[in-house]
Point group: C2
Chain length 396, copies 2
């Protein structure tokens, strides 16, 4: 007697989460150190010690009624002031608290944005490969995902296909840069072209098309790349941010939604989004961690481990014959499978106690995703298995 | 360009939340101590000191990667084990972790339950007066609220009208006891009769009807009343719980959804609910506070202030001529307005800097809700205003 929608979803649950559960079972069976679990974007580098100290300090000094009580649904005023200031310093902007809604992570932010703008049947464009949960978030509001095929040579934006597939029903486009699962970063040149396309299509269709930028990996960059700030390119932009990855706090569910004050009908959008945050059942972002992150502007976990893991894996896997576009950011890589059936390949990897996720989960069939937000030891110990797997498929 | 649904909702936002914002503005204008804000269920009694100590202890001793990391979407195993044990001790039950999903408060729990069971057009019964957010939660999944008129003499269940209004489209019934806004507690006798009615109607219609028990006020009881445990009465029961009120942690967004293991198709319900918790954007309940509440079984904030506030207000308001059913639990009372227009009356109360919420917000027109989870000083200082208000309306 569960709902039709949930019946389908429960039967076709998240492959990533299923693997996370399987990883825990394998760890119990073979010992945690003998399982190379690259399935989930769960940072293995701890939150900075300042997070711990700040949380303790708040618990010791702040009045518990204020610290744990309700505040405005959009979040504490002082927290939003502090974050606006930090964004202004980083991006030369002039936001104030009224552009910011504190959310239950980026997942909360995206659901709030989509609830705010989607009518049933509205189309939302997704550049493949992409994080599979976007489908569910869009479906929560009876939207329709429109999938843009990948540029396999570099996983850049496929602007030609976007233009082709835009229709009067196009309401939004979700962008994710640095990208999960490919590690691609979309350069300013492409974003400028995208913004021009969107402005042109808005005129043509006579209504707003929203850009929703999902940016939990903004701070995780390898080398001298820049992650452009989308509100500078396009007025009708939402930015969903999460501290899950940059501060290693995924379990705490803390992030924000920035609504570009230059957005069309800004006033009604912000008030609708504030109501959405409440009625979706979030009510408000967790209060203690609102206060914690507002005192951690500019702070990140140690990103060195991701750099080293990336370099180790790129070098080793390439030498075993795995083909890949080298990741520029985030903590994922998306190598090509040696056989077309990515599910079969990921299944085969389990023989060496390696857990990786089939690319088809991300609408990137024929690839696999490897989340390298694990310990350096896990990476090093896994290499033998990756090499054996390559030999099994005659890649070496 | 915001969605149709949100356009309506943003224009007809929560009267309670609007008043909360107004209260903050009035406090800035007249001084906090001169505003008697009875608008919001935001506990004024602090969380027990053990909560603070436990949180600090966890931050000092637990590995930050485990403390702040992802766990299963349904919550930590050890947390769910501890809570199942606590429920078993309290209710003589034999639950295990598999019946429990940790949620973003009771609002999260209710949204997860409704997402799990509702198809568009399904009807959900609500006993008036009721917490207005239920309408929004039901609307999130395109369900249809069916409102049962109150028994004004004691705000008990109107079983006759429930029977009359049940149809093959009835999918669920939300119960809230102790009740917001009336403070009523539904006795075992009535719940037994309700369960019999539901079983009979399930047979008649050939499908499950779910009881969703929203229980954030379970521990707040005045006098020798018992709050019956609904899973003992009816198999197809969900219980949504929140620590917001009992531990004064509303900002932290921590609660759980219990799914009765005797529920029809338990396995598919629990797996659908687990997926729902993820895809609605909650992902999981905040991790630190999962660990905190699992170590606080049986603990509550000081409830004495609610008892004293209730007694002061019942005595004083009755002496001024306000008519009311005396609240048995929760921290609300729901007196009758001296005029039919409850909005006008609540507006008039602002003259004495008293903030109360019109009963029509709860589908109880002609009444007002008074949330007495405030300081004893606020209650005492407000009495003069209530008396003057009574004189203005010739009640004395």
């Amino acid at each position: 007697m569960i709902s039709q929608k949930m019946r389908y979803l429960a039967e076709n649950g998240s492959a990533i989460r299923a693997m996370f559960e399987e990883g825990k079972e394998m760890a119990a069976l073979y010992g945690k150190e003998n399982v190379y679990d690259f399935s989930l974007g769960n940072p293995n580098t701890p939150a900075p010690d300042l997070i711990r100290q700040t949380a303790i300090d708040l618990l010791e000094k702040m009045d518990p009624i204020s610290l744990h009580g309700y505040m405005s649904n959009v979040g504490y005023e002082d927290v939003r002031d502090a974050l606006a200031l930090s964004l202004n310093q980083r991006f030369g902007a002039s936001y104030d608290r009224n552009s910011l809604i504190m959310t239950v992570g980026a997942a909360g932010a995206l659901n709030v944005a989509l609830k705010t703008i989607l009518d049933p049947g509205d189309e939302v464009m997704l550049q493949a490969p992409y994080f599979g949960e976007y489908n569910n978030y869009i479906s929560n509001f009876d939207g329709v995902p429109v999938i843009i095929s990948p540029h396999e040579e570099d996983f850049s934006l496929n602007l030609a296909e976007m233009e082709e597939k835009m229709s009067p029903k196009t309401k939004a486009l979700i962008l994710n840069s640095p990208n999960n699962p490919t590690g691609a970063i979309y350069p300013a040149k492409d974003l400028k072209a995208l913004a021009e396309l969107l402005v042109q299509k808005e005129k043509e269709f006579g209504h707003a098309i929203y850009l929703i930028s999902d940016e939990p990996y903004r701070e995780i960059i390898f080398g001298d790349y820049e992650v452009p700030w989308l509100p500078d390119f396009y007025d009708n932009t939402f930015v969903g941010y999460s501290y899950s990855k940059s501060l290693s706090l995924p379990g705490e569910r803390i992030g924000y939604l920035l609504i570009n004050p230059r957005m069309e009908d800004f006033g009604s959008v912000i008030s609708a989004a504030s109501v959405a945050n409440r009625i979706l059942g979030f009510v408000n972002a967790p209060s203690l961690f609102q206060q914690v992150v507002s005192r951690a502007a500019g702070l990140t976990s140690d990103m060195g481990v991701y750099v080293r893991n990336r370099n180790t894996l790129v070098k080793a896997l390439s030498s075993y014959g795995y083909q890949m576009v080298e990741p520029k950011g985030a903590f994922y890589m998306f190598p090509k499978c040696p056989i077309p059936d990515d599910k079969e390949f990921c299944q085969a990897a389990k023989k060496y106690r390696i857990l990786i996720v089939p690319g088809s989960t991300f609408r990137g069939p024929g690839y696999f995703r490897l989340a390298f937000c694990v310990s350096e030891k896990t990476v090093k110990d896994s290499l033998e298995g990756f090499e054996k797997l390559a030999r099994d498929y005659a890649m070496i």
